[in-house]
């Protein structure tokens, strides 16, 4: 067992973990955050995507100890004070969700994209979401969702100003 210290969804975490485990396993079983899904468990499907220091990674093939000293964001970390993140709202409004299995991962990749690019082009959306399999939507709704989310984020910014 080894001690893992990191920040998960804004909270400091220090727990003893099995260093042979993947980050996905530690998130799901040690931290109980089951919003992160395990699909293929070989880095192909993207269901297990979480953000490590703002970058999307396949947590099923990341050794858990690699999270040491890092900031992790899982799907549970997006809603603030009971209010959904604009990206989550946008996915619902665009119908970019059906069974929901790929959704946490896709939403987080979209979040990472919009964090560094407020107005992504269609090509950027396609590239940044290319590491996700979705067997329900047909993918086109993802473009709408990211566009809607981008508008929402800009609206909220303007309201604050």
């Amino acid at each position: 067992m080894q001690e893992l210290k990191c920040v998960v969804n804004g909270k400091n975490v220090a727990i003893m973990i099995d260093p042979s485990h993947s980050l996905a396993d530690v998130i799901r079983y040690d931290l109980g955050l089951t919003g992160t899904k395990k699909g293929c468990e070989e880095g192909e499907c993207g269901a297990c995507t979480v953000l490590v220091d703002g970058l999307p990674v396949d947590s099923c093939i990341v050794p858990a100890m690699k999270a040491y000293g890092k900031s992790i964001i899982t799907i549970e970390g997006l809603a603030q004070n009971g209010e959904l993140d604009p990206i989550q709202e946008a996915f619902m409004e665009a119908g970019a969700i059906q069974c929901g299995f790929c959704t946490p991962g896709v939403v987080l990749s979209a979040k990472a994209l919009l964090m560094h690019e407020e107005n992504p082009t269609k090509e950027e959306v396609r590239d940044e979401l290319s590491g996700h399999f979705c067997r329900c939507t047909g993918y086109l709704q993802f473009y709408d969702a990211v566009r809607i989310a981008s508008e929402k984020i800009k609206d909220r910014k303007n309201k604050k100003q």
Binding site: Q2, S20, E41, P56, D58, P63
Partner: protein, 290 residues
């Protein structure tokens, strides 16, 4: 079955080497770990100690000086794909790195891993081979430089022993005269799909457009990245032209002997692809100095 009991983070290369000695027979270097995690699950390897070099500052940089580009081997594919100097100086490498896996893989997988994993069609290794990259290997006996093209032993196995030595950096000479590089790839889809064929070229030319040096690499058509040497020789001393590139590409297709593969397609089909991709890569590379 043995499993990983310790995941250690040395502060520098020296400390990493000391850990490999201290845990001899138990320890293995790890960088991005995207391949290693799968191998451990499949019980292909069973280290009990991981020595993680992915964040060593000595292996995390890109520098351009003294007519060469030096890349720390723990740079990720995403970082190299987005690096402005790499894009400008060696677009073939930038494009190759952008083709690896998916964004979530590219954010963690490193160049060192792509080299040591030794898949013949590794999308960063194929362009780096065309660029004539040299690698620094640091072991208990000191550091040595080896050409990248000599590091692959067979499919999935390199001459770099991750229980003993560290591939620390990659050096690529920047030609002083006119030159161009290009990378081309065909896969069933554009993300998370292994290439049916990929190809990378580097051309150097005199001021009048005469080709003075050429490296052409296509994969996977052999157990290691394949140099189309007949095609390279055919180009030397001749003036760049579309016809010349078609003829050289035909030579490359003729000397490549890809095998039939259930995953990648028939050998006959892939032989044609070698010709087509090499031709396109040559034309694109030459457009950079025309």
């Amino acid at each position: 079955m043995k499993k990983v009991e310790k995941h250690l983070f040395p502060k520098n290369i020296k400390e990493a080497l000391e850990l490999l000695v201290e845990y001899k027979g138990e320890a293995r270097l790890v960088s991005g770990a995207t391949d290693l995690m799968l191998w451990i699950r499949e019980e292909k390897v069973s280290p009990s100690v991981l020595v993680d070099v992915s964040e060593l500052p000595e292996m995390r940089f890109v520098s351009v000086a003294d007519g060469k580009m030096t890349i720390g081997s723990a740079m990720t594919h995403a970082e190299i794909a987005a690096h402005p100097d790499v894009k400008r100086i060696f677009p073939a490498l930038s494009d190759g790195c952008r083709s690896v896996g998916s964004p979530q893989i590219r954010n963690i997988a490193t160049l060192a891993g792509n080299i040591v994993s030794a898949q013949p069609a590794a999308d960063s290794v194929v362009p780096m081979t065309a660029l004539g990259a040299q690698c620094e290997l640091v072991g208990p006996e000191g550091a040595r430089m080896r050409p990248l093209c000599e590091l692959s032993k067979r499919v999935g196995e390199s001459y770099v022993d991750p229980t003993k030595e560290i591939l620390t950096r990659i050096e690529i000479r920047i030609p002083s005269g006119r030159y161009g590089t290009a990378f081309k790839r065909i896969a069933p889809r554009e993300a998370m799909a292994l290439p049916v064929v990929n190809a990378a070229v580097m051309l150097e030319a005199k001021d009048d457009g005469t080709i003075k040096a050429a490296r052409i690499v296509a994969s996977p058509v052999a157990v290691v990245p394949f140099r189309a040497k007949n095609a390279e020789e055919y180009l030397i001393g001749k003036k760049a032209s579309p016809e010349l590139f078609t003829e050289a590409a035909e030579a490359a297709g003729a000397e490549a002997s890809p095998r039939d593969s259930l995953v990648r397609g028939s050998g006959a089909y892939r032989k044609v692809l070698v010709k087509d991709l090499v031709e396109r890569a040559l034309i694109q590379a030459a457009s950079l100095f025309a």
